[in-house]
């Protein structure tokens, strides 16, 4: 919906994060603020013959946290399910809503779900199906509605938030719990290795010498709600203001050389909007040569080249289905504090078009930010948010 006149507002009332950098949104924000980077070299992990860099969740820590939440322990839950439930639980508790009511809808963003079970599945065969993963999450909270899975490759996290907005606008729900999660496995790492897409070191988004991406594990959740436009919101509330998804119609794995789809999505999501309000752009910034070039071209073509732009991938890697949610949460924290976070790993920006990459955390003006994301299948999504004063 790119029209500026709306008869409602949609805003976030709860957030949750499970990341190698911490098990709440605030601790992860603090870690990022302090410049911590979770990427490590791994050798022999998942039985992979070749080493790789990635940010992995500690399974023991995850199990401890889950056991503290659930009296029956973690038997019967996969790592992905536990992380998704933990993140959702934090968001639901903060939102202070009753998840078992029928005015709540659960939306899961994941690219690969429990795909590692293809190697060895001690559970029932349905566990490989993404709808089943979503059902496990919804069932944990005794939610009566059929959950929705959004699986749109790397843009899933943003697409799932867009789905939440639509459910709130059209389907009569009062609350949407959006959870994004993906765990790494031999399946996913080997595939990215076969694509020669992984960096042999910590990733360097938008850097002239970037050599590829780091993958990361994580789960993130947001609870959104809908209200009348005049509703008084507490200061610091994350308000959804614009969104768009556009396809490049160009190539299934290579980003458009002209940034066509992303440019259209930026234009749609910012139509009728005074872009001088934009404090920063949180880009996808995977640190692959092609993605970052494409984003720089689209940002430049949209006339946003002077707006401070960052990528958060240097802190915790590309978290796939969680990325679009996790990065929105952290961007919201930053803007509440009036800053833009440094693009960790970037030393010398070097992209096809010149844009303003943030090398260090610094104060910013403006009350809004843009989240950009692009992925396989040629899809691009843009979300526009503001933070209430």
């Amino acid at each position: 919906m790119e029209t500026t006149e709306r008869n409602h507002i949609i805003y976030a009332i709860g957030e949750g994060v499970v990341s190698p950098l911490g098990f709440t949104a605030s601790t992860v924000y603090e870690a990022v603020r302090n410049g911590e980077r979770a990427g490590r070299a791994h050798e022999g992990t998942f039985g992979l013959p070749e080493p790789f860099f990635a940010s992995l969740l500690d399974e023991a820590r995850l199990k401890n946290a889950f056991s503290a939440l659930w009296d029956y322990g973690c038997d019967g839950y996969t790592k992905l399910e536990m992380a998704a439930i933990l993140a959702a639980n934090q968001a639901i508790e903060e939102a202070n809503i009753a998840p078992d009511r029928d005015n709540v809808i659960f939306i899961l963003s994941t690219t690969k779900g429990n795909v590692e079970l293809l190697e060895d599945n001690p559970y029932e065969p349905e566990r490989l199906y993404l709808w089943h993963t979503a059902q496990m999450v919804a069932d944990f909270f005794d939610n009566p509605n059929t959950p929705i899975v959004v699986s749109n490759a790397c843009i899933s996290g943003c697409a799932a938030q867009i789905e939440a907005f639509r459910q709130l606008r059209h389907a009569g729900y009062r609350y949407a719990v959006v959870v994004g999660a993906d765990m790494l496995s031999k399946f996913i790492i080997s595939g990215f290795q076969s694509f020669k897409a992984l960096s042999p070191e910590l990733c360097k988004p938008f850097d002239g010498s970037r050599r590829g991406l780091n993958l990361g594990e994580g789960a993130a959740a947001l609870v959104y709600t809908i209200d009348d436009p005049g509703t008084e919101l507490p200061a610091g509330t994350l308000v959804a203001e614009g969104e768009a998804i556009c396809n490049d119609a160009n190539h299934i794995s290579g980003p458009s050389r002209t940034g066509e789809g992303l440019l259209r999505a930026i234009q749609k999501a910012t139509k009728g909007y005074d872009t001088s309000r934009t404090a920063f752009i949180n880009a996808h910034g995977t640190a692959t040569p092609y993605n970052d070039d494409m984003e720089s071209i689209a940002i430049h073509r949209a006339g946003l080249q002077d707006i401070p732009t960052n990528s958060l991938k240097g802190y915790f890697g590309h978290t796939l289905g969680a990325a679009g949610i996790l990065e929105v949460i952290l961007s919201a924290h930053a803007l509440r504090n009036g800053i833009v976070l440094a693009s960790a790993g970037t030393e010398e920006p070097g992209t096809a078009a010149d844009i303003h990459i943030c090398l260090e955390t610094k104060p910013v003006q403006g009350d809004g930010f843009l989240k950009l994301i692009s992925g396989f299948g040629g899809s691009n999504a843009v979300l526009r948010f503001s933070i209430t004063k």
Partner: protein, 85 residues
């Protein structure tokens, strides 16, 4: 060399799913990418796998492939020199 070139053509058609093509349709001197067979970046990555699987040659990145995958003939020459199986 001739034999290797023919073998390669058959393998390329097979791993890249070039439907309806026969080895005779591939000019060993024609460029594999761009104009020639119209292959794309995923095909290049699959050719890297072919080099390793069938000939024991490991290429570190796709850029190395660019020179080697110029034509079937160039590929065959490279394989002849570097093969370990």
């Amino acid at each position: 060399m001739k034999e290797l070139i023919e073998e390669l053509k058959t393998e390329i058609i097979d791993v890249l799913n070039l439907e309806g093509m026969t080895p005779a349709d591939i000019d060993e001197n024609a460029p594999l990418f761009g104009e020639g067979l119209g292959l794309d970046s995923i095909d290049a990555l699959e050719l890297i796998v072919l080099m390793e699987k069938n000939y024991g040659i490991k290429l570190a990145n796709a850029n190395e492939g660019k020179e080697i995958f110029k034509s079937v003939k160039v590929m065959a020459e490279y394989i002849k020199e570097h093969r370990t199986k």
